[in-house]
């Protein structure tokens, strides 16, 4: 095929195109890269990212830098009823009510918290995206049968959504028995309706857009339209939600442990359990409650800040 433009005009066009093209690093950039650039310029995102990064690093190397084993009752001889020694040069965060080093337990507990948060979020994300994606595709393009499928799925999701999340998690945890897996499943389960609802709404909104009609006008098959055009446009809010869910998952997992539904395994410290334990000695050593509480809050805050900043960066309405 030859160009429809005459050679002379094509030449002129090429020269102008050269003049017009900005430095090449400005062009040929993908949307993701552009979002990342906006993210880097946002101080909120930087703070969030630093907190998250610090937390992740601690979770990974925590067991290596912890001065004592988390279960060793190194200071048991110093514990007397009503007396728990505070911070000292040997024990920077002091001892807990069983004479174990609080700093070591905090460091090792970080890994547990991160693990529960990530696995729970992944579980909720996968199940939610599956259900929401199915419902969204069915409602957007499936005709009458599709709308019926969507209705059935969504009524089920609405039921889950109507229940208070912690209550739902508690019932799931109670049903499955005490274990770490239970906590992950319970917390993940709670986030399923959020992801499903979000993706479905996003997909339905996207399937009304012109480019979906345009791709149908090109004769593309329905699954290609859904997977190649609707889904990629709908995922951004869901991914942002995953970051935000990570924050709530950490809080909820700690909540379940606090309520005694967490892992029964006492050898692995967990921030929620530590908080529950500290409750008993609150009048003697309130700091013991403050350390894990601050840990949970700061971590959750980090993920929330990062998530919010990501939402802003990906939001096409805020794009210049």
């Amino acid at each position: 095929m030859k160009s429809v433009l005459s050679p002379r005009r094509a030449e002129k066009l090429d020269r102008l195109a050269e003049l017009a093209s900005e430095p090449s690093d400005e062009r040929g950039e993908s949307l993701t890269r552009e979002a990342l650039r906006r993210l880097r310029r946002n101080p909120v995102a930087i703070v969030g990212a630093v907190v998250v990064l610090l937390f992740v690093v601690l979770a990974i190397i925590g067991p290596l830098i912890a001065p004592y084993p988390p279960t060793a009752t190194v200071g048991l001889d110093q514990i007397r009823p009503g007396v728990i020694p505070g911070p000292s040069s040997d024990y920077l965060f002091g001892l807990d009510h069983q004479g174990r080093d609080e700093l070591s337990r905090m460091l090792i507990g970080a890994r547990q918290t991160l693990l529960v948060g990530i696995v729970a979020t992944l579980l909720g994300f996968s199940a939610g995206v599956l259900i929401g994606g199915l419902a969204g595709a069915a409602a957007g393009l499936g005709g009458r049968v599709g709308r019926w499928v969507d209705s059935v799925l969504m009524r089920f999701i609405d039921m889950l959504l109507a229940m208070p999340s912690l209550l739902l998690a508690v019932s799931v945890a109670a049903l499955l028995g005490r274990s770490l897996t239970t906590v992950m499943v319970a917390v993940g389960f709670v986030s399923v309706p959020v992801f499903a609802r979000l993706l479905r709404g996003s997909m339905i909104a996207q399937s009304q857009r012109d480019f979906v009609l345009a791709s149908a006008a090109l004769g593309l098959r329905r699954n290609r339209v859904v997977l190649g055009h609707i889904l990629p446009n709908s995922l951004a809010p869901v991914i942002v939600q995953a970051t935000l869910t990570l924050a709530t998952a950490i809080i909820e997992a700690a909540g379940l442990s606090f309520l005694g539904l967490g892992s029964p395994d006492q050898t692995v410290p967990e921030w929620g359990t530590m908080l529950a334990d500290a409750q008993r000695v609150l009048s003697v050593r309130p700091e013991l409650a403050i350390y894990p509480a601050v840990g949970i809050i700061v971590t959750a805050l980090g993920f929330t800040l990062l998530g919010e900043a990501m939402r802003e960066a990906l939001d096409p309405k805020l794009r210049r």
């Binding site: 095929m1 017009a20 480019f211 006008a217 090109l218 593309l220 446009n233």
Partner: protein, 350 residues
């Protein structure tokens, strides 16, 4: 035989609890192979709905009622199953939409969007499709196609986006191309380039083109045959020259009269058509245009006006048409003809 023959096409939207809307009401027209046919009319006269009905892109449901016939190459498009339609769309009939930005997927690169048509209908593998996509972009006048393939719609100018969409539409060398107001969202200078591109493409590929527009300047520059639509019916059909030289239907005359003309006397006023497209009479109660028509007589009310002069190439649906000589509307001023070179690139600079 004509490539596409639409006869008595009606589209009725009847949402529960709402007044039913007859968007298209017994519309008939035909397109021969390689011909450029215009569908002209105000907003809301059923142009786009007609195009969507032919493509089978109207939502399917009880509240959308499509009747009539759209014979394409012997078969009736309206009776086809969704999957058969999907095979035809993009391969035999393609469509270019009004707004190039919203018609492109913002998060998928141009390359993927062009190649997926090729892999779908022409069974190409990825490498062949990419090569073909680059040559398609080159053909529609996009410089440096290899680089553009990797870019995203927001990195292209408006004119280039429309060029890319046209490349996707002609990728399988369809026999019929429907262009729904392809230039409305673009700058005037770029409009001219896009029109020229469309004209050259349909000429070299032998594709028939249905040009949907409200812009008589576009029609005058491109179309062989023009159908003027009003309230979902064709009110006048004629080849380009007779239509502009001696329009018969008062609505056509009104449309031509509302265009500014270069040769008008200073101070001469434009004559708009009274009222709006919403002041219509249902066709079965008379001529839908009668409430806005200066030439309306008693015979206009009561029954649908018949098509007159059915044996000539110039037909119209009016009981009291303008005489052959017509009012002095003359050929519309064709200001949209000259294509300033590369204005699109200037647009990028600024």
């Amino acid at each position: 035989m004509d490539l596409l023959e639409v006869s008595d096409l009606s589209v009725v939207f009847a949402r529960r609890g709402e007044r039913e809307v007859r968007a298209v009401d017994g519309l008939s027209f035909s397109v021969a192979a390689g011909e450029v046919v215009g569908l002209v009319g105000e907003s809301g006269c059923g142009k786009t709905v007609t195009a969507l009905a032919i493509m089978g892109l109207l939502p399917r449901g009880r509240w959308v009622n499509v009747t009539g016939k759209a014979a394409f190459d012997g078969g009736d498009l309206l009776g086809l199953s969704t999957s058969d339609l999907r095979d035809i769309r993009g391969r035999d009939i393609a469509m270019v939409f009004q707004d190039p930005l919203s018609s492109l997927n913002p998060v998928v690169s141009i390359g993927v969007q062009v190649t997926e048509v090729l892999t779908r209908h022409r069974g190409m593998n990825d490498a062949a499709a990419t090569r073909e996509a680059a040559s398609l972009l080159d053909r529609v006048g996009i410089p440096d196609p290899r680089r553009r393939l990797k870019e995203y719609p927001h990195q292209l100018s408006g004119g280039m986006r429309q060029r890319a969409l046209i490349a996707m539409a002609v990728a399988c060398q369809p026999r019929l191309l429907i262009a729904d107001e392809p230039t409305t969202a673009l700058d005037v200078t770029i409009q001219a380039q896009i029109l020229e591109l469309l004209r050259d493409l349909v000429h070299s590929l032998g594709t028939a083109l249905i040009m949907i527009t409200h812009d008589l300047g576009v029609v005058a520059g491109m179309c062989d045959t023009i159908n003027v639509l009003y309230a979902g019916k064709v009110v006048e059909t004629a080849p380009r020259r007779p239509l502009f030289a001696s329009p018969r239907h008062p609505y056509t005359v009104g449309l031509l009269g509302s265009i500014p003309r270069l040769d008008a006397r200073r101070g001469e006023k434009l004559t708009p058509i009274r009222g709006s497209v919403r002041d219509v009479l249902p066709w079965h109660e008379g001529c839908a245009f009668a409430p806005r028509c200066d030439r309306a007589i008693d015979a206009c009310i009561g029954r649908t006006p018949d098509v007159m002069d059915v044996h000539s190439v110039h037909t119209y649906r009016c009981v009291n048409p303008w005489p052959q000589t017509g009012p002095d509307v003359g050929p519309a001023v064709l200001v949209r003809q000259v294509a300033p070179v590369a204005s699109e690139q200037y647009e990028e600079l600024s």
